[in-house]
């Protein structure tokens, strides 16, 4: 691996935001067995992890595909290339009921329009639900992924106070703290990693706020605090993230997404 930063190293000079986020997310999957992932960055991260830090990793898709062996990089979670040659394609009641709610997923990947300090997520509306400024797609399976995965990774392309907000406009997918307050016993830890272009926020479980634990080279804690809409806690042992290495980038570019479907 290189030791340079994404700004100043030869091969990494052209590291895109997608590549950076994918590589960093992939490393966090070390040792995990099952990941529930959507298409895009989560697929890239999981596929790269499969080639590096988590060789036994299985990606389970929301569409019901387990053990996919696609001939081409899939463009959607239901891409026909995910089905042909897969190890199993299971009905949605089994996928959501027995696999996800049954507790077989180690890491769920989610995105969101807004996240708060407890890792609660909003993917429903901006503004008031009844008269929204912007109607977003909604939960899909996100509420279930949050409720039933052992932990959840969030990859956020934007790190700004509108997305990292003190108060969500609407909570679509609550973490375990909110679940407990509602009298419902959660299975997992909720969001444990938030990966952005500025760094990594982390928490381990119930009762813990997201805390800044790692920075990309050249980014300061103050930069991240400025991009965060709440008074962000900073870890004492704040570390610097190793930039994407040559080996990681080569795998990502040559093996995982050679057609650069997502590595735009």
């Amino acid at each position: 691996m290189t030791t340079g930063t994404s700004e100043n190293t030869g091969s990494a000079a052209a590291v895109t935001s997608s590549e950076l986020l994918s590589v960093v997310a992939s490393r966090e999957l070390a040792g995990r067995r099952t990941v529930f992932a959507g298409i895009g960055l989560p697929t890239l991260a999981a596929s790269l992890a499969h080639l590096t830090v988590a060789p036994g990793l299985e990606i389970v898709y929301e569409s019901g595909v387990c053990g996919a062996h696609p001939s081409h990089l899939p463009e959607t979670i239901a891409d026909a290339v995910l089905i042909t040659g897969a190890e199993a394609v299971i009905p949605m009641p089994t996928l959501f009921g027995s696999v996800l709610q049954g507790g077989h997923i180690d890491v769920g990947f989610l995105g969101a329009a807004q996240i708060d300090k407890w890792g609660n997520l909003n993917s429903s509306v901006i503004g008031d639900w009844h008269h929204p400024k912007a109607r977003l797609p909604g939960s899909g399976g996100a509420n279930e992924v949050m409720a039933n995965s052992r932990e959840v990774f969030v990859v956020m392309r934007r790190h700004d106070p509108r997305s990292f907000t003190e108060e969500l406009d609407f909570c679509t997918s609550p973490g375990p703290d909110r679940a407990l307050a509602d009298g419902i016993r959660p299975l997992g830890a909720g969001v444990t990693r938030v990966i952005t272009e500025l760094g990594i926020l982390a928490r381990e479980g119930v009762g813990e706020e997201l805390k800044l634990t790692a920075l990309h080279p050249g980014v300061t804690a103050e930069d991240v605090k400025a991009g965060t809409g709440w008074d962000l806690q900073v870890a004492d042992d704040l570390s610097v993230i190793e930039p994407p290495g040559d080996a990681e980038l080569a795998l990502l570019r040559d093996d995982v997404d050679p057609e650069r479907v997502y590595l735009r």
Binding site: G38, G138, G140
Partner: protein, 315 residues
């Protein structure tokens, strides 16, 4: 032993929609990304149905089209987006600005929708699921309620869980690869929640790429996702799932998904699109022909045949 007396349930799409979809009905259209019953949605538009409640996990292009055509007054869904290819323009206008009229929207999560279908299929008063704890969804959807378990939880204390109510559509319409004339329907690839949606419905219409002889279906009874006793009408409609795909028949039209964001954002373009492609075609066969053979060649797929299994025969 038993004589063959299977009922022939085949009819045209026009006949099926005419017979089974009425103004004000609750209509489920299922198919999770795969096998979306688009052609059925288009025929509902052509026949000018009004006041429908549409139940569909992923409200996507076909729902946006039905909204734009004025067919729908209520939507029950868990994902209102154009896959990952942008927004649904008409849906956003309806929800954000009541333009041109309001849309009643019941928001669920995917598993909540699945559980509603299961409860409907299984004639259960409710279905429990480990979702929604702490979410704002129950605050805007009073159908999400809690039940206390009569068994102690892992900590010995009593345990609460959210439940959703059954949904029993007046009619469920699904698309599938093939069926026999009596409605035994075989699906492969992503099977979604179609079987449950059919069983939950009072009436069920199955739209298929092709009708096959009885022997084909019966050579592999485990492939029959929906038995004939649950089906009221069988409609042959090749390529009826476009722009979604039919595993082994044709691929997804990703370009159209991307284009829809632009078409639907502009009400005039959207109206023109409907006029040309839905109102301007007599039926789905015309729509398919209008797209042209070259277009369909671009979505053609090659062969990847399943290896057969032996069901055995008494010697």
């Amino acid at each position: 032993m038993a004589v063959e007396t299977a009922t022939d349930k085949t009819m045209t799409m026009r006949e099926a929609v005419g017979a089974y979809v009425r103004d004000g009905d609750t209509v489920s259209l299922e198919g999770f990304t795969h096998l979306i019953p688009t052609a059925a949605g288009h025929e509902i538009i052509r026949q000018g149905r009004r006041g429908l409640t549409v139940v569909r996990m992923t409200a996507d292009i076909v729902v946006d089209q039905m909204l734009a055509a004025g067919c729908v007054s209520r939507l029950v869904s868990s994902f209102v987006g154009n896959s990952s290819a942008g927004s649904l323009g008409e849906l956003r206008r309806r929800v954000e600005r009541a333009d041109p009229e309001p849309l009643a929207f019941e928001e669920y999560s995917h598993y909540g929708m699945i559980c509603r279908y299961i409860a409907g299929a299984q004639r259960l008063p409710f279905y429990p699921l480990r979702s929604y704890g702490g979410s704002d969804l129950p605050g805007v959807n009073p159908a999400m309620r809690k039940v206390t378990s009569p068994y102690p939880g892992p900590d010995g204390e009593s345990e609460q869980i959210y439940v959703v109510p059954p949904v029993n559509p007046d009619v469920t319409i699904v698309h599938a690869q093939r069926a026999d004339r009596s409605g035994n329907t075989q699906v492969w690839g992503l099977t979604g929640v179609q079987a449950e949606a059919v069983y939950a419905a009072r009436k069920a219409v199955v739209v298929v790429e092709e009708i096959v002889e009885d022997e084909v279906v019966r050579s592999d009874p485990n492939r029959t996702l929906i038995p004939a006793h649950a089906v009221d009408a069988v409609v042959v409609c090749p390529r009826g799932a476009h722009p979604s795909f039919a595993q082994g028949y044709y691929d997804r039209d990703n370009a159209f998904y991307r284009a829809w964001a632009g078409i639907s954002k502009d009400k005039e373009r959207l109206t023109a699109w409907l006029a040309e492609w839905v109102h301007g075609t007599r039926d789905h066969a015309e729509y398919v022909a209008k797209l042209g053979e070259e277009f369909w060649d671009g979505l053609a797929v090659g062969e990847a045949m399943s290896l057969p299994v032996n069901y055995g025969r008494r010697l």
